[in-house]
């Protein structure tokens, strides 16, 4: 088994108040089968034994579904592979002795907590304003009473596949969250159950997105390119349509 060495430049920042900088580390004896996060574990073990504070980063499932991990690797969120989270990126995709720059998601609405850990609770607050179908437990009708054509269900699923990692925001030059919000809106707007609250949902979620300080969309599609679930920007176009429709309807209401 061949072992590789990498030169890491890692963003270290003690907390949101202090200023951060890139710090150089050497990752030694790295196997091509290691995941990116396992490589960081090895670097951290060395840092710990030297008595220093290890690099803080978020992770949980390590199988690409929880959306916890999020690292900008060589200038691209989640690194060079399409449809991949940071935890599912393997070191075989890097050249031995390569210099790898490692940074956190950077956005005003994702305040930095420490090193590579950021606060993405703005996403949860957007969901709280309307990202649901209101149906109290026990109030549900028999599931097959509402048939949903397979293609519609499949399309709703494509939107619902979002794991809320925030890579779309991290990649966008405007730190815009419209792909996230668009996907969330379309997941529910495509299905018959979601119609009753469709307008209210679009208005409230977009307003909250604005209040959180995310930027506007420039239609560059970087978000789709880095999305681990490859969610299409068509959901952004649909968000625009849904929002305008809802806003005009609201304006015309006597």
């Amino acid at each position: 088994m061949s072992e590789m060495t990498f030169n890491l430049r890692v963003w270290r920042q003690a907390n949101s108040e202090s200023s951060g900088r890139l710090v150089d580390y050497t990752a030694e004896r790295i196997s091509e089968h290691m995941s990116f996060l396992e490589m960081l574990d090895i670097v951290n073990d060395k840092i710990i034994l030297e008595g220093d504070d290890p690099i803080a980063y978020d992770f949980d499932c390590r199988e690409g579904i929880c959306g916890s991990c999020g690292i900008v690797i060589n200038g691209v969120p989640h690194g060079p592979n399409p449809g991949t989270t940071s935890c599912q990126l393997f070191m075989r995709h890097f050249k031995a002795d390569e210099t790898i720059t490692i940074e956190p998601w950077r956005a005003k609405s994702f305040p930095l907590i420490k090193d590579l850990v950021v606060d993405r609770s703005s996403f949860d607050r957007i969901i709280a304003t309307g990202g649901y179908i209101s149906c109290n437990t026990g109030a549900a009708p028999e599931a097959n009473n509402t048939p949903i054509p397979k293609d519609i269900a499949d399309e709703a699923f494509d939107a619902a596949a979002c794991i809320g990692c925030g890579a779309c925001v991290a990649a966008c030059k405007n730190a815009s969250a419209v792909l996230f919000v668009g996907a969330k809106l379309q997941h529910l707007a495509l299905m018959p159950q979601g119609q009753a609250e469709r307008d209210r949902r679009a208005l409230r979620m977009v307003d909250q997105m604005e209040a959180e300080g995310f930027g506007a969309c420039s239609n560059e599609g970087e978000c789709e390119a880095v999305c681990p679930k490859e969610i299409s920007t068509k959901h952004i176009a649909r968000l625009n349509r849904d929002y305008m429709r809802a806003a005009v309807k609201q304006a015309l209401r006597p």
Binding site: S109, A171, N174, A175, G213, A216, S232
Partner: protein, 221 residues
């Protein structure tokens, strides 16, 4: 806050404002280019076209409308740019294009700069032609705009300036057209984006062809 201001001040509303004003201005450019092409037909046709335009009383309304669109487009654009920059207070140390599905281009990342160039260009352009030297044509009351155009574009500095600006306008349209339609939620399809890029080349190419032709063979026009 009334409903209309709410719509216009929303993030979607602002993008729709950009898209609608931008696409209407693009429509104006198509009309403008068609008119300009008349210079290749004959001196009289071109001058008559100009005369018909300015002697129509509706011209003031049209000019006001154009000015309104222009102001709307650049003020919203400047506002959004400031806001977008504020959304990422700290820049990445290293930032790369993601590739794959990304449509990020030199054109898309420089919209504000290409837009600012146009913002400088338009007053100069109006000052140079609309309020430029007044030559009387053979026909009484009809301005000889043809002569002014030919004289201007026989000076290399003007030609270079116009060629440069029109190329930049092309860049602006390259991203702007498709992006406008996406903002309107009308289409996210590849074909429309391609058509926009084609249009950008045609419009920029058409506009810069005229000064180049005049510089090269102006005495024959």
């Amino acid at each position: 806050m009334n409903a209309l201001t709410r719509i216009l001040n929303s993030p979607v509303g602002r993008k729709v404002t950009m898209a609608v004003s931008g696409l209407l201005l693009l429509g104006f450019l198509v009309a403008h280019l068609t008119g300009n092409m008349l210079i290749l037909v004959s001196k009289e046709t071109f001058n008559h076209y100009g005369h018909t335009l300015i002697s129509n009383p509706m011209i003031y309304l049209a000019e006001a409308g154009l000015l309104g669109l222009f102001v709307m487009h650049f003020t919203t654009g400047l506002y959004l740019t400031r806001k977008n920059r504020a959304a990422r207070p700290q820049a990445y140390e290293r930032n790369e294009r993601a590739g794959y599905a990304s449509r990020k281009t030199l054109a898309s990342t420089t919209m504000i700069f290409s837009g600012l160039v146009v913002l400088v260009f338009v007053p100069l352009h109006i000052w140079g032609f609309k309020f430029g030297a007044y030559y009387e044509s053979a026909e009484p009351g009809v301005r000889d705009l043809h002569r002014l155009v030919i004289e201007t574009f026989q000076q290399p500095a003007w030609v270079i300036w116009y060629v440069a600006v029109m190329t930049i306008v092309g860049f602006h349209l390259w991203h702007g057209f498709g992006s406008g339609f996406e903002s309107l939620g009308l289409s996210y399809r590849k074909g429309l984006r391609r058509f926009g890029q084609f249009l950008a080349v045609v419009i920029a190419g058409g506009f810069l062809l005229i000064p180049v032709l005049i510089y090269m063979i102006g005495d024959k026009l």
